[in-house]
C-alpha cells in the first residue's frame, strides 16, 4: 500500500519529465521586437527538442491541499464545526487575504480548510493554513516535508510542539528588484526566492502550517505570535477585501440578478468567511448553477419556455455588477459566460474535448461543491 507521499513523488516525477521538455522562455529582446509587429504570433523558435531545460524547481511537498481529514474525525474543525479564530498578532505583519472553504469528496471524505496570508512591510508573505486532521495525518504530512527538506529544531506555538523544516531553497536573489524610477514600489518580485520554511503543529483535530519565504528567525518569531483570538478581534484584522458582514454582502451582490423560482438565498448567508472575489464566485455560481440546471432539465423534458427563461436570465449575466467587478481579479466571470454562451448556443463547451453543458457544468462551476 503506497503512502500519499509516495503517490505524490511518482506524480512529481511525471511532471518533471514534462517540464524537462520545456523550451527556453522567449527572451525579452524577442518579445520587444515582436511587440512592434503584433500580427506575428511568436518569435522564431528558440528551442531544440531534446535539449531539455534543466529542472531547477525543487520538488516540494504539497501538504494540505490533497488529503482527506484523516481518521474520519470531525469535531470542531470538521464540516459542521468551526475553526478557532487564530491570528498572528505582530505589528509588522497584517492580513492581506483570508479564505475558508469546506466540502465533501466523492469518496465521502470531508475537508475543511482555512488560509490566511500575512504580508510584512517589506513585501514578504507567509501563509497560515488550518485543516482538519488527526496525529496520523500530521505525521504523514511532516514525513512528506521532511523527505524534501531539512529538519530543524522544534519550536512551540499555541502550547503545542512545532515541527520546523526548511524544504525549499532558491538560488535566486531574495531581494526585491528595485523598481524603475517613477514605478510603483509595491511590485512583488521576491516570490519564489530565498528559503522556504514550513512549520506544522496540531491542536485538537486541527493541523496548522505556517509557511513562506522568510528567514528562520523571522518564522520562529511569528510562531510565538500565533494566538487564538475572539471573533471580534479576528474580524477587525481582516482586510477590506474580506467582507465581514456576509449577509448584507450577499444581498448586495444579488441586486439586479434574476434568480429562478424557488431559489434559496438563505444558505448563502451561512457560508464561511472569504474574500470578496471568492464570495462573488460562490453567489454567482449558485445563481448560474440554478439557471443552468433549469435549462438542462427543461431541455431534456422539452419545456422550451423554461429553457428560454434560463437562457434569457443568463444572458443578463454579462451585466451583473459583481461579475463585471470580478473580471479584474480573475477569470471566474469568463467561466460563467462560457456556459451562458453554451446554453444559448449548441449546448457544448470545449474542455480538453467537446463537452456537453450537462456533463461538465457541475465540475466547472462547482455546482455541487460546498463553499
Amino acid at each position: 500500500m503506497n503512502t500519499e507521499y509516495e503517490d505524490k513523488e511518482a506524480i512529481r516525477r511525471g511532471i518533471a519529465l514534462i517540464v524537462d521538455e520545456s523550451p527556453p522562455a522567449p527572451e525579452i529582446c524577442d518579445l520587444t521586437t515582436v511587440s512592434l509587429k503584433p500580427e506575428r504570433r511568436s518569435p522564431s523558435r528558440l528551442a531544440v527538442f531534446g535539449a531539455a531545460a534543466a529542472v531547477t524547481v525543487a520538488l516540494v511537498g504539497t501538504v494540505f491541499a490533497l488529503g482527506s481529514i484523516g481518521g474520519g474525525e470531525l469535531g470542531a474543525g470538521g464540516p459542521g464545526g468551526e475553526f478557532e479564530r487564530i491570528l498572528i498578532q505582530n505589528p509588522d505583519w497584517s492580513v492581506s487575504r483570508y479564505d475558508e472553504f469546506r466540502g465533501q469528496m466523492d469518496t465521502g471524505d470531508f475537508y475543511h480548510h482555512a488560509e490566511t496570508t500575512y504580508v510584512a512591510a517589506g513585501g514578504a508573505e507567509v501563509d497560515l493554513s488550518l485543516d482538519t486532521g488527526n496525529q496520523e495525518r500530521l505525521d504523514e504530512l511532516i514525513a512528506g516535508r521532511r523527505a524534501d527538506g531539512t529538519q530543524l529544531a522544534d519550536d512551540t506555538a499555541m502550547g503545542a510542539p512545532v515541527n520546523v523544516i526548511l524544504y525549499e531553497s532558491s538560488s535566486l536573489t531574495a531581494q526585491p528588484v528595485a523598481p524603475a524610477a517613477g514605478a510603483q514600489e509595491d511590485v512583488i518580485l521576491d516570490e519564489g526566492a530565498g528559503n522556504k520554511y514550513s512549520a506544522m503543529w496540531r491542536v485538537g483535530n486541527v493541523i496548522y502550517e505556517l509557511r513562506g519565504y522568510v528567514e528562520e528567525a523571522q518564522l520562529r518569531g511569528l510562531l510565538a505570535d500565533v494566538t487564538e483570538v475572539s471573533e471580534e478581534t479576528f474580524l477587525e484584522a481582516m482586510p477590506d477585501t474580506v467582507p465581514t458582514d456576509r449577509e448584507s454582502t450577499v444581498d448586495e451582490m444579488l441586486e439586479g440578478i434574476p434568480v429562478p423560482a424557488g431559489f434559496q438565498v438563505t444558505p448563502l448567508y451561512d457560508g464561511d468567511l472569504k474574500d470578496h472575489y471568492q464570495l462573488g464566485a460562490e453567489v454567482t455560481g449558485a445563481v448560474a448553477c440554478a439557471w443552468i440546471h433549469q435549462w438542462i432539465a427543461a431541455t431534456e423534458s422539452g419545456d422550451t419556455g423554461a429553457a428560454d427563461e434560463a437562457v434569457d436570465a443568463m444572458d443578463t449575466s454579462r451585466d451583473w455588477d459583481v461579475l463585471v467587478d470580478m473580471q479584474e481579479y480573475g477569470d471566474w466571470p469568463k467561466a460563467v459566460w462560457e456556459y451562458t454562451d453554451a446554453i444559448a448556443g449548441d449546448g457544448t463547451v470545449m474542455g480538453g474535448r467537446l463537452l456537453t453543458v450537462a456533463e461538465s457544468v457541475d465540475d466547472a462551476l462547482g455546482c455541487q461543491t460546498a463553499n
Binding site: 511525471g14 523550451p23 479564505d99 474535448r353
Partner: protein, 150 residues
Amino acid sequence: MEPVDEAIYTKLKDDLIRYATTLVGPDEAEDVLSSVILRVLNRKRLSDLEEPKPYLFRAVLNESRNVLRRRRPIADMRDAVEDTHNHDWAVARAIRELPPRQRAAIYLVYWEDMTIVQTARAMGARPGTVKRYVHMARKTLRGVLDEHGI
C-alpha cells in the same frame, strides 16, 4: 519594455514556460507564452498588475485552452521519444491526458507548491472546485500507478 517589466518577466518566465509546456506540450509552449506576454503588454505594464504571477498563470491557462481547442486530440506530444516501459513516462502521459483544468490544478499544486486558494486564484476558479480537480486528477493517476504496480 520598461526595466521593471523586464525584471518581472525575467523572474517569472521559466515558471511560465514550464506551465505552458505542461498544458500544451513543448512544441507550442513558446508560442503560448509569447502570445500571452505580448497581449498583456499591448494593454498594460506588468508592473501595473497587482499580482503578476497569478495573473500571468491565468493568462497562460486561457491561451493554452485556446490552443487546445484548435488541436485535438491533445495527447500527441513527444510520444516518439517515450520509453513506454518507464513508469514515470506512463505517469507523464497520463498527466498530459488529463482534462486541461485538472492538469493545470495538479501542476500548480504539486509542482508550483501553490496552496488550494493560490491555485484557485491562478486558475480563476473556486477553491472547492480546485480541490475537486486535484482529487479527480489524483484518482486518475492513482489508477495508472496501480496498473504499473507503483
